[in-house]
Amino acid sequence: MTAKLILSMDGVVIKDYPLTKERTTIGRKPHNDIAIDNLAVSSEHAAVITILNDSFFEDLGSTNGSVVNGAPTQKHFLQNNDVIEIGKYKLKYLNDQPTQTSSADFEKTMVLRAPVKQSKPEDGFNQTQSNAGAVAPKHESTTQFNATAPKVDVAPAPVAPAPAAAPTGQTAVAIIQILNGPNLGRELELSKNLTTLGKPGVQVAVLARRPHGYFITHVEGTSFPLVNGTSVGEQPHQLNDHDIIELAGVKMEFYLKT
């Protein structure tokens, strides 16, 4: 699944260019990898640098410039479906490599080999590229990688369990309402993953928002928080709508607002 550029003009596709080289040049002269014989295109107009699964677009100081996604651009880190415009021509960047944030299999850490003794290169860019060597998959995989190819071949990744939707996506918002004392009636929306309640040094509890609900856990202090009159002890305790929490002498109600 190599990333590629699709050259088109006026909506008509002219050609596909897979980005297999470290540097793919775009320009009017025929020696360019993507040669566009049009006077609006400079002889060496632009280049796309590809490092493993990432590609970067760079205008090489062309006369008429380059436009990426509608904006004049010098340098750009290409993302799937970006559109580069050079004169009347369009180059669409396609990279349907599963992003690592959506693929468990690709999450493996690999080692890019570089000679140990070598001093740190001035140009990390080329250095890492040319030295990209054998890689060791981090997780139970026996795939052998070609020792010279910097390209990491990855089998179609099994679909990772979708990260459970955070409760923020739900319509219900959890609220803590104070039921006694000087702050009577005040409400606190549990908008963060963690919210602490109580007085530091006296008694503190934390409310954690998790995919499957809200949990209260004792943090510090000699006594434990009470939920509906019962001590929760040291373990996390899941909260239900309209539970009454007592902590450091303050009574409050937990409820879900829809």
Partner: protein, 275 residues
């Protein structure tokens, strides 16, 4: 003040939500102020083997050396503190052990591990790391990464090819440029930092910082600094709630008191005469 009484250390490791086994290894030794965390890689169970070797070599060798000489003394060979040299030498030693095991046993071929290890002594911490396991520090309100990953992405950030924000979009995560056990020699990065009472240090594998934003990690430590075991549990829970795609390990070190090394009889006498 003894390091033993000055530090509170907790650790937790979890296979995560996707992986069937845990290739991370962690250990700590309060008496010597040592923490070690390694994140192994390699086929079958080789990842566990590599991280396990790294952790046991560090733990036993550092302890052994420190029973002979104090970490604040000067190492004759390098001129650095013994505390710095002992980490550097033993990361190299672990490297060679793993490399030799990988060479001699075909099922371990290509195994390796990242490592981050810290030694707390004399109100300082020496930190050695290789790869993308990290140490963070919470000091007051400021939570920051102390180690810099040996990864392709970090090199790209350093050379200005890509910004930190854009790096989150990169498809080249998890490519480390240095690892322990892959070659016959390795150069660990070792630095020495002053610590302050109240500091909290977090050592973690990338299973944490790939799944949980730094900001959320910092907020969790900030809120739960009164209960370190709970803070560790919450961090792992957050990584797993966000998908838990990798093994996740954390070691938390809280500096409760100053632990300056007493400076010998002469120093004591001198300060006594001054008063």
């Amino acid at each position: 003040m003894n390091v033993n009484d000055a530090l509170e250390i907790v650790s937790q490791t979890n296979p995560g939500m996707v992986r069937s086994h845990n290739e991370d290894s962690v250990t700590f030794d309060v008496a010597h102020g040592l923490v070690v965390l390694a994140d192994g890689m390699g086929g079958y169970n080789a990842g566990e083997v590599a991280s396990g070797i790294a952790v046991s070599v560090l733990a036993s060798e550092v302890r052994h050396r420190l029973e002979q000489i104090g970490p604040e003394q000067k190492d004759e060979e390098s001129g650095d503190d013994v505390g710095v040299a002992v980490l550097r030498d033993n990361v190299k030693k672990a490297n060679l052990s793993i490399f030799n095991a990988a060479q001699s046993q075909p099922q371990y071929a290509g195994m390796g591990t990242t490592i981050v290890t810290g030694l707390f002594y004399d109100n300082r911490v020496a930190v050695a790391h290789v790869g993308d396991s990290r140490m963070y520090r919470l000091r007051g309100e400021v939570f920051e990464t102390v180690t810099r990953d040996h990864s392709l992405l970090q090199e790209q950030i350093d050379s200005g090819i890509i910004s930190k924000e854009l790096a989150k979009l990169s498809k080249n995560k998890n490519l480390v440029t240095r690892a322990v056990g892959i070659e016959a020699d390795v150069v660990p990065e070792v630095h020495l930092y002053d610590v302050e009472v109240g500091d909290i240090y977090l050592f973690c594998s990338d299973g944490l910082n790939d799944m949980v934003e730094d900001e959320d990690i910092g907020a969790t430590l900030q809120m739960l600094q009164g209960n370190l075991p709970l803070a560790a549990t919450q961090l792992i829970e957050q990584a797993n709630d966000n998908g838990g795609r990798d093994n996740v390990s954390v070691i938390l070190v809280k500096v409760k008191n100053s632990y300056a090394t007493p400076r010998g009889l002469w120093a004591k006498l001198k300060s006594w005469f001054k008063n």
